[in-house]
């Protein structure tokens, strides 16, 4: 942080109250500090729970644009050594009982001048790195701070914590996930779809090196992603119909591996479990608006996406970079960062982008999570066509790497 930002931070004339200390909340606090805006980060969880290392194997596929944000925020250095670059992506249409289909969509290595398409980073490395960076940036952190009420007026906003303490600021930011209490208290309605699908995720150790290749198989029950982690390990995200997923969770380790093998294939040799299994129900949950009076939503609080292709955190980081840009520019112009005209700029920047992404991932999942022979033939032809047309393939790769659209400066 430069001297100007530090001076301004202390005066805290314009101050954001960020509710939610997961990944987007800390990233936003860092980005705001860089722009010279003070922030208080409130998390409902007690400090010891927050700083406890996450379990092995829970990992994020960070698009190249997200990596750029972490670099700009000075967080990347702390996770780079443990990150695994995604050098190649292979997409296949699977058929139940037959393994992978013959038509591949292949995003080859070295095709993007910016470097790898993305980086796999484990939660147990990313979370502590973000929290450590906050310490250095002078962001006020409050753990175990459960917000029970919020009020906004023409001159400012305030939140009331359990226990009665009141905090004041210029703007409230909800970074508190898809069941966002911040959005609910502001009266922002949500709409969404449940897919009747559950994602089972865990880390798998394998005999042979993965060479940085990520695989995505579209199976009739839902997609299976195999994402390379550091060493001879991969993270799997296996989406299945709810009943089947529950059965997979309940299985003994050997039975689970036996169920996984036909889809996983034998290209990496013998496999074994390298972490516990966790499950997440899949669904789309979109807030009707991302802003209200003196309030903005980021991440899942604004848009809980189908986690296909790991777009959830990447979309959240895009919110963070866009909001920090809008508010930073407003401060330099002397505008009130909580005022409706300023927040409307964030809404119009992110609103359309997110709706398009939500519809695309939703449609993609519905198209591929289907055993209808006609659809299967169509999508195989489609994947083949994309593979055969280098221009279209590069376009899709840039899209997946998050390098398209109206990119916030922090991601360029």
């Amino acid at each position: 942080m430069d001297n100007a930002a530090r001076r301004r931070d202390k005066s805290a004339m314009q101050h954001a109250l960020i509710i939610g200390g997961g990944l987007n909340g800390p990233a936003l606090a860092l980005a705001l500090a860089k722009a010279g805006i003070g922030a208080t980060l409130l998390d409902a969880l007690p400090a010891e729970t927050r700083s406890a290392p996450g379990f092995d194997g829970r990992a994020y596929a960070l698009a190249a644009a997200s990596v750029k944000l972490l670099k700009a925020l000075g967080v990347w250095e702390a996770v780079a050594a443990e990150a695994q670059p995604i050098e190649e992506i292979k997409v296949t249409d699977g058929v139940a009982g037959e393994g992978a289909g013959p038509f591949w969509l292949h995003f080859e290595r070295g095709a993007l001048e910016e470097g790898p398409m993305g980086q796999m980073v484990e939660d147990r490395h990313l979370r502590p790195a973000l929290l450590a960076a906050l310490e250095g940036a002078g962001v006020t952190q409050r753990a175990g701070a459960k917000v029970i009420a919020q009020e906004t007026g023409p001159g400012g906003a305030r939140v009331t914590l359990e226990g009665g303490e009141v905090l004041e600021g210029t703007l409230i930011v909800g970074a508190d996930g898809r069941r966002s209490g911040t959005a609910m208290r502001a009266g922002l309605k949500r709409r969404g779809t449940e897919y009747g699908q559950i994602a089972v995720t865990c880390a798998v150790a394998h005999e042979r090196p993965h060479e940085g290749v990520a695989h995505q198989f579209f199976m009739p029950g839902g997609p299976l992603a195999i994402l390379p982690l550091s060493g001879n390990r991969s993270s799997i995200v296996w989406s299945e119909r709810a009943a089947r997923a529950e059965a997979l969770m309940a299985m003994e380790e050997e039975a689970f591996l036996a169920a996984l093998r036909p889809a996983f294939g034998s290209h990496l040799g013998q496999i074994s479990l390298a972490s516990k299994r966790f499950s997440y129900p899949l669904g789309l949950s979109l807030a009707e608006r991302f802003v209200a009076a003196r309030l903005a939503l980021v991440g899942d609080a604004a848009h809980g996406l189908h986690p296909l292709a790991g777009q959830g955190l990447n979309a959240g980081f895009r919110d963070v970079a866009a909001l920090a840009e809008v508010l930073g520019a407003a401060v330099r112009r002397g505008e009130d960062i909580g005022s409706a005209p300023v927040l409307a700029r964030y809404q119009s920047w992110r609103g359309f982008d997110t709706a398009a992404l939500a519809m695309a991932t939703d449609g993609f999942n519905r198209l591929f999570s289907n055993d209808n022979p006609l659809l299967r033939a169509g999508r195989r032809l489609g994947l083949g066509a994309v593979s055969a047309l280098p221009g279209l393939r590069r376009g899709l790769m840039r899209e997946a790497a998050g390098l398209t659209g109206d990119l916030p400066p922090l991601m360029r």
Binding site: E151, P154, G334
Partner: protein
């Protein structure tokens, strides 16, 4: 959304509750990005970018610091609800806002108070202030000159308000077939951004004419920049080349009186 009673609300101006409620509604209207003043809100980021950059350059201030305009006395002519005065005050300037429309002043005062800002709002004109001998480092003269009956004498009054070396920023509309289509047919009749009859196209001023007027009033023009609306992105941007419809100029008063 709950708006709490009294939180950030006015404490001193309120005398008649009905009057206060009316002013509150008018202040809310001025600051509603989708309301009656939507065209001004859309223009606001580029206007402020221009104004802040020019002031910072002229007076050697760093916009990355807190309150960069500290110590500068600034006048905004035709201040309305205070859309320009408030940002300038937040950046540290000592701000006077004048508007000949008396109904705007209590509304602007109320909003400044809600925002915790000290701004000196007055029902007044540039000519009257000049007569009273008031002096400023910066005079903002945005979208006014095309409405006055005699631009030359008006700009002479603006010049009289400047301290030696003071900065005068003036925006207006160009006069050509395109500005007629965009500024009057487009903004007043098609988009309904502005009430019909807001502008008289014959009073629009070309950039060369404005430079001549500024020089005639004793100021030295230092910059002119276009403000261009892109109907695809629905956004305004600054342009060094396209001054065909909306544009803004910066001019300075001589450093020492002659």
């Amino acid at each position: 959304m709950t708006h709490s009673e009294g939180h950030g609300a006015v404490t001193s101006t309120a005398t008649d509750p009905a009057e206060l409620a009316k002013f509150e509604a008018m202040a809310a209207e001025w600051w509603d990005p989708e309301g009656k003043f939507k065209p001004l809100h859309m223009l606001q980021p580029v206007r402020l970018d221009y104004v802040t950059t020019q002031i910072a350059a002229e007076f050697g201030r760093d916009l990355g610091t807190e309150r960069p305009f500290e110590g500068l006395r600034l006048l905004d002519i035709g201040c309305g609800g205070g859309l320009l005065c408030e940002p300038m005050a937040r950046l540290g300037a000592d701000v006077v806002g004048v508007d000949p429309a008396a109904r705007n002043i209590p509304v602007a005062q109320l909003h400044a108070e809600q925002s915790g800002l000290q701004i000196d709002y007055r029902v007044n004109t540039a000519e009257a202030l000049a007569e009273a001998g008031e002096l400023f480092d910066v005079v903002l003269n945005m979208e006014v000159v095309e409405h006055v009956p005699d631009p030359a004498s008006y700009l002479t009054a603006c010049r009289a308000l400047l301290k030696p070396g003071g900065l005068h920023i003036c925006s207006t509309l160009n006069r050509n077939p395109k500005s007629f289509m965009m500024g009057i047919v487009g903004a007043e009749h098609v988009m309904r951004w502005l009430p019909k009859g807001t502008h008289d196209w014959r009073k629009f001023i070309t950039p060369d004419e404005l430079y001549d007027l500024l020089r005639g009033a004793g100021m030295e023009p230092v910059d002119r920049t276009g403000m261009v609306f892109n109907p695809l992105s629905w956004q305004w941007r600054l342009s060094g080349r396209d001054l065909s419809v909306n544009y803004v100029t910066a001019a300075r008063a001589p450093a020492a009186e002659v």
